[in-house]
């Protein structure tokens, strides 16, 4: 992310917050205290919501910075889902749903799958939904439309997730009452940009961790990082990360400005970012050697988050095709 003076200060503040109050190791179990601080103390769920609707009036670029920093810690709390939901609702005529999301008394989840609507009754089951178990509000895509559903009206079953830092649940709707709150496509574009920002933040953190290890770990009487085979591998990962960061930055700006090419660059950003993240997290295990293969080391947490993010909400291949079709049409 290219920082202006404002975003640099925001980033620095959040970097300190996450390192001190929400480090990676604290993400293996729910921590209501973290969520409370993120919402009531820092007001992050309403960061990109206009002030007149109770938010902080910052843009999607600032939200992307927050999510990059949250990604560094593999934040477990439903900040991403809830903050994106707040942006979507603030832009709809369902602003009355915002207050509990902004004050942290409720979190949201995006339910994307095969759901049908009959009148205002939604029916369908979605097998993997991020953050659903804790959510009070579900934003459900039905074809091109987006509906808000009270989570109490759904059957939600927690799942054991491959990624232990990101809760998953199965959601079943059986004639649940829904309220139309906007278009699915735009909401998914915003969600993709958010996931992309989180991914490049996490990828940067695990690459930094890896380089730090290569700098101190010695074999054959010299630091591992002095071996050209490893230096070049780090350089290639850096190129991939910087390239992905550029696309994420561009997409975040497009989201902030509602640019006409957002539908093209949003899926592209998630594809590019998760490609970089999966490659970097995979190589991080390799470059750490045996210690990187252990349960106690953090490398596998990044690896599992990377693959989970890549596979949820459409994989990179699908997203690139979507971007291509949208970008070259006409």
């Amino acid at each position: 992310m290219t920082d202006s003076a404002d975003t640099a200060e925001l980033r620095s503040t959040l970097r300190g917050f996450f390192e001190q109050h929400a480090p990676t190791r604290s993400q293996l179990a729910d921590d209501p205290g973290q969520w409370k601080r993120l919402t009531t103390e820092l007001g992050l769920t309403g960061l990109a919501v206009p002030e007149e609707q109770g938010g902080s009036g910052a843009s999607y670029v600032e939200l992307a910075v927050v999510l990059e920093e949250a990604g560094r810690s593999l934040l477990r709390a439903p900040l991403l889902s809830t903050a994106v939901a707040a942006v979507v609702l603030a832009d709809s005529d369902a602003g009355d749903l915002l207050p509990p999301l902004l004050d942290g008394s409720m979190s949201a989840a995006f339910v994307v799958g095969d759901v049908t609507v009959d009148g205002d009754r939604l029916t369908g089951s979605v097998a993997q939904v991020v953050d659903a178990a804790a959510a009070g509000l579900l934003l459900v895509t039905v074809g091109d439309a987006l509906y808000a559903v009270d989570a109490a009206a759904a059957t939600i079953r927690s799942l054991e997730a491959l990624d232990p830092t990101r809760p998953l649940a199965a959601v079943e709707l059986d004639g649940a009452s829904g309220r139309r709150v906007g278009d699915a496509a735009h909401a998914l574009d915003l969600l993709h940009v958010a996931l992309a920002a989180e991914s490049v933040g996490a990828a940067r953190a695990v690459l930094e961790m890896t380089v730090a290890y290569l700098t101190v770990r010695e074999q054959f009487g010299r630091p591992l990082g002095s071996f050209q085979a490893l230096r070049h591998r780090v350089a290639d990962l850096t190129v991939e990360l910087e390239a992905a960061t550029s696309t994420v930055w561009y997409a975040a700006r497009a989201a902030a400005e509602r640019a006409p090419d957002l539908p093209v660059v949003a899926p592209l950003a998630k594809a590019t970012a998760t490609d970089a993240f999966t490659h970097i997290a995979g190589d991080a295990i390799q470059l750490h050697g045996g210690i990187g293969f252990t349960w106690e080391h953090d490398a596998h947490l990044y690896f599992k988050r990377a693959w989970t993010t890549a596979l949820l909400h459409d994989d990179a291949r699908t997203l690139r095709r979507t971007a291509f079709d949208r970008g070259t049409r006409g």
Binding site: T2, D3, S4, A5, A8, V211, L214, T215, R222, P223, G225, S226, F227, Q228, R231, H232, V234, A235, D236, T238, V239, E242, A243, A244, T245, S246, T247, W249, Y250, V264, V265, L268, A271, T272, R317, R320, R321, A323, F324, G327, T328
Partner: protein, 384 residues
């Protein structure tokens, strides 16, 4: 003037000439096609100069137009879109001129900048040597000061478009017995003299962008040293820093044209029906979008937000991307790509072959990776 007005002015100026008097040079002179229409492209350079398009981004006090980055981007994009030919003096405009403007004396600016701005003096770059490629500080060409000026002896290699050049900026060892970065001088040397011999290198494209240059008691005036004698390394590194991101956006318009040709070939051969080929085309397209986002990010950076390795990242990105596109260009044609028809290589064959140079020149991929490892991450040097 608004940016849209500026774009309109650029388009109109280019269209009038490239649809008219200079129609012959459209699309010529690119990689693998440097030999095409040389005299017309020299005339074109002077036509550009008359239009005020040479030195567009140079500061006004150096005789340039002082155009904003956005305006420069517009110019390069429209130039590429209009099929403007390979610039025969891009080393003069992009490297020699800015270096002289930044490091030269007033006399040197008065002497050399007008020839570049008028498109009359063509420049080349004398850096690499047979023993000093990626390791530029191993330069062995010597410069000795005598009564009538500097006398230069040695060999340069991989010099671009030297066969057409009037002047060369040469990095030479002026302190006998000095080593590495110390004792080098940055000299401006006239090419049209008995002591200079240029031998074109026939490349795997069958054409000659690059040359060998032999200096055998070549002479240049005592005043033609930029910076202090013996302090040429700093000037040489300054030259490399002028390779800014602006022209890469124009380069990307050319890349988009290459990609369009590859897609057309894939449709024509039927290869596009295969899912795997479609994926490769989509990946190439996606890679090109990311190249653009990277260039825009670099242009918007200031000193505080710079990573310091944007140029190295960008070089690796585009050179690798273009090389993969060259390979895709061949594979979508299948066996038909193995035949050379008529006068020579097809545009896609030429692109495929010429793309092998991008990962070597201007700092090879391996050198770029070392720079990223050291400058961005502070990893220790490999001492093996």
């Amino acid at each position: 003037m608004s940016l849209a007005d500026f774009r309109g002015e650029v388009q109109a100026w280019l269209r009038e000439r490239l649809d008219g008097k200079f129609a012959a040079v459209v699309g010529t002179g690119g990689p693998g096609r440097e030999h095409e229409h040389v005299e017309e492209r020299k005339a074109w350079e002077q036509e550009l100069a008359r239009g005020g398009w040479v030195g567009l981004g140079w500061p006004r006090d150096a005789g340039g137009r002082g155009a904003s980055i956005e305006e420069q981007v517009v110019f390069y994009e429209e130039y590429a879109r209009a099929g403007g030919p390979g610039r025969i003096n891009h080393l003069g405009e992009q490297l020699a001129g800015p270096t002289i403007a930044a490091f030269g004396t007033q006399e040197q600016k008065d002497r050399f900048l007008p020839g570049i701005l008028q498109g009359t003096d063509i420049w080349c770059q004398g850096y690499s040597e047979p023993g000093a490629g990626s390791d530029l500080a191993a330069v062995r060409t010597t410069a000795v000061m005598r009564e009538d000026g500097w006398h230069i002896d040695g060999q340069k290699v991989w010099t671009s478009l030297t066969q057409y050049a009037d002047w060369c900026f040469v990095l030479a060892r002026s302190d006998a017995g000095s080593e590495r970065h110390r004792g080098l001088s940055y000299l401006l040397v006239p090419m049209r003299q008995p002591g200079v011999e240029v031998r074109p290198i026939v490349q795997l494209t069958g054409t000659s962008e690059f040359n060998e240059v032999f200096f055998d008691d070549a002479v240049t005036a005592a005043d033609n040293v930029v910076g202090e004698p013996g302090a040429g390394w700093r000037v040489a590194m300054g030259t490399l820093a002028f390779e800014r991101g602006v022209s890469t956006l124009g380069q990307q318009v050319g890349f988009a044209h290459d990609l369009d040709q590859v897609i057309a070939a894939a449709i024509s051969s039927g290869a596009v029906e295969h899912d795997a080929v479609k994926d490769q085309i989509v990946e190439a397209w996606a890679g090109l979008q990311t190249l653009r986002h990277s260039a825009l990010r670099t242009l918007n950076n200031d000193a505080s937000s710079s990573t310091g390795v944007e140029a190295n990242v960008s070089k690796l990105l585009w050179a690798n991307w273009h090389q993969r596109l060259g390979e895709l260009a061949m594979s979508v044609q299948g066996a038909a790509a193995t035949v050379v028809d008529g006068d020579g290589f097809s545009p896609l064959q030429t692109m495929f072959l010429a793309s092998r140079a991008g990962t070597i020149y201007g700092g090879s991929n391996e050198v770029q990776r070392n720079i990223i490892a050291e400058r961005f991450w502070g990893l220790p040097k490999d001492r093996a």
